[in-house]
Symmetry: C2
């Protein structure tokens, strides 16, 4: 289906579900972006879930989001159970404004929901020549080191920087060996997942996506990855007033209340300390790209480069929609 | 040897090497702290190296460190090739002051050197009820994902938070499968290193510590760890004005000039958004500690807990000094 057409359908579905036209625009843009960068677990596969949660009144389609100024650099947002996209959009714009004014911006968000890809918001900051660091927690998926039960979310760490070129440096890495979204898509399409990334509910390794969803995902790098996931839970949950310690509800399975996810956005001017920052990072990337390569590797890529290239390529194509998601769309648009 | 006695010896050695009494105090304290927490690779094993670099005039024992105020929250420090401990001590104190005044502090340092453990400085911030994030780069040790040559340092990520108890949460994790300091100690004591943490110069796995030092350390988690190491190189090197892209010299082997390491210190009030932060994090830790445990695990520990307990235990003991380091000390004190 053509990108414009599918975007319009998604926007119309959101409007049907009582989002304002501008909030529907923000949300549909974020979903289509996820499709275009190839992050299908954050794209159309989630649309029905968002609508279900709005129908069940645990996402508020017309939230009165509150922005509290703590200092010229720092703001606190109560998202009032809005759809995550809208909360994150306000948050990154506030963080950008604060950083532009004072050099550094910090925005904490509570009572929010799943907002898709951190990198999508980071990119907005990079376009203003800012560095961005973004943290969000998520429903339990990873067991803390030493524990037999999952508690941390896949808790992504996002870091983004201008590069002096069109393609920003965007590291947006989950602390899980595999993205939960990827397991979900595999489960929906009855596909296997790689070895060594998840355990079933009995603590046994599994390649069955459905068993992995019910079980535990493994953190990267053992206790180090577990520590990083814990850090993200503190920064986005404990600090902000969001849920933490495993209390963020799974948006697909648990309709007993809002998610109350927390996010933290930190932005600062890239040229705070060195006027020629862009030249410096260009040199950094160039030096690294020139290193001798492992056999079979054509080019050393920096984080975000592959995603950007995929985006650019997909922008010229139509979006192919799996049959089950096509059915969701038809139901949602005709409801 | 008694802790007080060995600390006095180290301080005297630094004074002999032209550090001011207060800078010698700062530096000896940091070195003894590393011994007490069991981070021997950052302790006495480095003392001779610091003195060698001072003798060769590539560490300046009497630097005129410059602190430039960028904004009420942000400062830039030119360490003028001081010993890293002294630069880091000024930096964390400045970051604490800025955060106490405005809610958030950010301090970048250039022209610095190896400063030991990031967690040691983070602890100072936590004692003032601040959260701290600290980044520093280091000499080449890890190959970027896809490259056959090491370029990134072990580039630690440090995150610290108050916990409402005496033991702070201090995640201080290198992006390498193993700390370079540990390999160095193993090499000095002719011990083996674990499998799967390093390659020799030909790209072959090795458990020989000396071959590993000459070769390449592996990053945690493949391209994710490589991305995190790259992030640290940008934050501490590209941003600050420090060396980056593999240009930080190995302090033990390369006396051709100063290291010009860069550091970044970010601090902010833990209770910026939630007045009961300490209560919230206490609840967070308590909930996680209550999870069912893997067989053989007595307690789920948070980052920094083991180190703190080790410190407390070692504080009551004497410091045992390996024979080769004892020889170094005798030479240094009688020179």
């Amino acid at each position: 289906m053509k990108i414009k057409k599918i975007k319009k359908i998604v926007k119309d579905i959101f409007i049907k579900n009582n989002l304002s036209s501008s909030d529907a625009e923000i949300s549909s843009k974020a979903i289509i972006n996820a499709e275009l960068v190839g992050a299908y677990g954050h794209g159309l596969s989630r649309l029905k879930m968002y609508c279900d949660r709005i129908q069940k009144k645990i996402i508020n389609p017309k939230p009165k989001i509150k922005i509290k100024k703590i200092s010229p650099s720092i703001s606190h947002i109560d998202a009032k159970n809005s759809i995550g996209f809208v909360a994150a959009d306000i948050a990154i714009k506030t963080a950008i404004k604060n950083a532009k004014k004072t050099g550094i911006g910090m925005v904490a968000v509570k009572n929010s929901g799943h907002y898709g890809l951190s990198g999508y918001y980071a990119e907005q900051a990079v376009k203003k020549n800012l560095i961005a660091m973004i943290y969000t927690n998520a429903p339990p998926a990873i067991a803390p080191h030493g524990a037999l039960k999952s508690l941390f979310g896949t808790n992504p760490i996002c870091f983004a920087s201008p590069t002096g070129s069109k393609i920003p440096f965007i590291l947006d890495t989950s602390i899980s060996m595999i993205n939960r979204g990827k397991i979900r898509v595999a489960a929906k399409n009855n596909k296997k997942i790689p070895k060594g990334v998840a355990l079933d509910i009995f603590g046994k390794p599994t390649i069955d996506a459905k068993k992995a969803l019910a079980g535990v995902q493994l953190p990267i790098a053992g206790f180090r990855g577990s520590g990083l996931a814990w850090m993200v839970d503190i920064l986005s949950g404990v600090l902000t007033g969001g849920n933490h310690a495993g209390r963020v509800k799974d948006p697909f399975d648990d309709f007993s209340g809002p998610q109350n996810i927390g996010h933290l956005f930190i932005t600062f001017k890239a040229n705070l300390f060195q006027k020629n920052y862009n030249q410096r990072i260009k040199d950094n990337i160039k030096t690294i790209k020139k290193l001798p390569k492992i056999k079979g590797i054509k080019e050393i890529m920096y984080p975000g480069e592959n995603k950007f290239n995929r985006y650019r390529k997909n922008l010229k194509k139509e979006i192919s929609i799996p049959e089950n998601i096509r059915k969701d769309l038809i139901t949602l648009i005709s409801n």
